[in-house]
């Protein structure tokens, strides 16, 4: 194969593949570290009640309450996007997106819980999760800049537990 065709082949195939490998390596490193960080903080917050009750349990004596929220915006990496694009043709579980949304969910809940604890509350009830898609700068709806995961709930301070 001559120089010209090698160059052509590199530009058409090699460059996207290099970008994929780069995105995969950096993306999975970030993901691993994020999960480790999430697990560490979750074990620190163990014992802090976070529930989806809409009403207070009868025995709880609440002295104060307030809204707490935590949110995170996460973006796909190029690798996940490309693989999900292929997956979208045949359908099925978009396996590369699942860890991303799992991270977002747990991180948002953690931020909310940390917010509640820092403000001196004892528990959070009526917790809700919401997801919204952020449009990219072009705003044409064809691609997504990322998703926002928002967790919010009512934090309560108890007179006695």
């Amino acid at each position: 194969m001559s120089g010209g065709q090698t160059l052509n082949l590199f530009l058409n195939i090699g460059f996207p593949i290099a970008l994929l490998v780069f995105a995969y390596l950096i993306g999975s490193l970030i993901e691993r570290r994020h999960f480790a960080n999430i697990r560490k903080r979750e074990s620190e917050l163990r014992g802090f009640p976070v529930t989806t009750f809409e009403r207070l349990p009868e025995r709880w004596q609440v002295s104060s309450a307030g809204l707490v929220s935590g949110s995170i915006v996460v973006s796909l990496d190029y690798f996940k996007r490309v693989i999900a694009g292929l997956r979208a043709i045949v359908g099925g579980r978009v396996k590369t997106y699942e860890p991303l949304l799992e991270r977002a969910r747990r991180e948002a809940l953690l931020r909310m819980t940390e917010d509640a604890r820092r403000a001196g509350y004892d528990a959070v009830i009526n917790v809700r999760l919401e997801t919204s898609r952020l449009a990219n700068a072009a705003g044409n709806g064809n691609s997504t800049a990322g998703v926002e995961m928002l967790a919010f709930g009512t934090a309560v301070k108890l007179e006695r537990r």
């Binding site: 001559s2 160059l7 979750e42 996940k80 694009g85 396996k95 860890p99």
Partner: protein, 269 residues
Amino acid sequence: MRYVPREPRDGINVSKTHALVEAGTLVAGFSLIFVLIVLVLVFMVELALLFVSPEAEARVFENWQPGDLVAVDADDRRLAEVDALTQRLARHWPDSPYRFRVAINDSEKPNAMAFPGGLIIVTTGLLDRVQSENELAFVLGHEIGHFRNRDHLRMLGRGMLLTLSLSALGDGSGAGLGLTIADLTLRGFSRRQEADADEFGLTLVHAEYGHIAESTRFFERVADEFGGDHGYYEYVATHPSPEDRIDEIRELGRQRGWSESGPPVPLQW
């Protein structure tokens, strides 16, 4: 009721499949499917060619105006000479069903293309760069070779079917992968076609001049001019790279015992 603290468990919402396994499965699966699609397309085009005789093709596309396809420079005074040279070369293919026509496309990039019905379009960029009639004759002979092997219809048919079948995928990563696989698969076919067209072109040149001197000069010159950069140079995008061809053409000449030396015919412009 008692609140029991519990940490979130891993692995409920996340599939156990490793991302690379997922990627490998999808890429391998789709590659296989795309290779099969391309092979089916190639087969369908070959089948269609059996039903369209060269005579029928020549009749249908007889009235095609080159201006419908590309911007044509009808006033270029080199047109008459290129046309006359094409007719002289075509005389060495006596049972040709085509009545060859030539048009000049006003484009800086050197290129030559074969269109249905015997239409050959050369660019001003090509005419600016050829320095003897022999150089031009081989480029034209190569295009005539495409007509003889009916590659111009193959390219057109495959291109159309491929565009049609890939358009269903939109412009996402699936279409990108599909195009790459299709390109790699078709590369093998087009390489064979180009070599065959070179062979026929060289036969015409030898029949016309009695030698094949200067047949590769044009390619040597553009290889020098564009250097390693000819990935972007159009003639290479639709033809093999100059370096590869030069060697193959020389080898073919040696096998046939055709003389590589002879007086070049100067151009009249």
